[in-house]
């Protein structure tokens, strides 16, 4: 028997929870519906395109093995979003600890150079430019911006997730938007210059 694709997330979730051991069809349909959003978020939360799919897979694996404990008090989307932001922020924190010995200025310059190279590859249209801009932003401003403007999380949730105060979250998001607009405009100017010159 196949999965009824007209079912909504909550019905699929119920089927996934009630499925026999090893039957992942309902869960796979949920993954199919949410994979693009989760992969995108993992890509920009971690700032590491090469790790994005692995991170997203780990998020779905955690969700699958947590299905039995999930009480359906929130939607699947909200639940997976929480798992994903926790997982990606832990990844970023661990990565930061591992690279603490590297001179921060050197690391920042290297990251920017890498992002700039990526930017030239990705700068094909506005949609891809968005991704390139995100990768060029500083981590401190990028993460709150993604959680708010890409993921739609509430300020309070972001504050909890990042372990910082509400006013700090608001400030970072405001500055993040400014930085995003600035880099976006710079890239536009670069592209215009390249087109004319």
């Amino acid at each position: 028997m196949s999965i009824d694709l007209s079912l909504d997330d909550s019905e699929l979730l119920m089927q996934a929870q009630e499925a026999l051991e090893g039957d992942t069809r309902a869960f796979e349909e949920l993954v199919r519906r949410h994979q693009a959003k989760v992969v995108t978020n993992c890509r920009y939360l971690s700032g590491s395109p090469s790790d994005a799919e692995d991170l997203a897979q780990e998020v779905f694996v955690k969700a699958y093995f947590g299905l039995a404990r999930f009480e359906r008090r929130s939607s699947f989307e909200t639940w997976i979003r929480r798992i994903k932001s926790n997982h990606c922020i832990n990844f970023v924190t661990k990565k930061r600890v591992q690279t603490v010995d590297v001179d921060p200025v050197v690391a920042e310059n290297a990251a920017r150079a890498e992002a700039k190279a990526e930017r030239h590859l990705e700068q094909e249209d506005t949609r891809e430019q968005v991704g390139a801009v995100l990768l060029e932003m500083t981590e401190t401003l990028r993460i709150p911006l993604i959680l708010r403007d890409m993921d739609g999380m509430a300020y309070e949730e972001i504050a909890d997730e990042l372990g910082i105060g509400l006013s700090a979250v608001k400030m970072r998001i405001k500055r993040g938007r400014e930085e995003f607009r600035r880099i976006f405009a710079e890239q536009d100017a670069d592209a215009a210059e390249a087109a004319h010159g």
Binding site: E21, G22, T24, E28, V31, R32, Q35, A36, K37, V39, T40, R43, A52, E53, A56, Q57, F60, V61, Y64, F65, T126, R127, Q129, V130, G131, V133, L134, L145, I146, R148, D149, M150, G152, Y155, S167, K170, K174, R177, F180, R181, F184
Partner: protein, 85 residues
């Protein structure tokens, strides 16, 4: 006159607009093998947890049988009813 004036809450209304708005619906499609790799990963994890459960059960049974054997040596009178030498 009563002071009816209430300070508006600190910026809760998001000042979006382009290009920030583009973030809302921005997605990157995963590779075509994403779901297959995930399925394999789930199967591997499932299998390893089954093996782990089986190993613990096996170990538990061996320990239990070991103690039963010890008790039957220490206290040979404790035998099932109807058991004779």
């Amino acid at each position: 006159m009563a002071d009816d004036h209430v300070d508006p809450p600190v910026e809760e209304v998001d000042d979006l607009g382009e290009p920030i708005e583009a973030l809302r619906n921005y997605t990157v499609e995963p590779s075509s093998s994403f779901l297959v790799r995930l399925r394999n990963r789930l199967r591997r994890r499932d299998l390893s947890s089954q093996v782990a459960t089986l190993s613990w059960t096996g170990l538990g049974t061996v320990v239990l049988e070991f103690f039963r054997m010890i008790f039957s040596i220490v206290d040979p009178d404790e035998r099932g009813e109807g058991e004779t030498d």
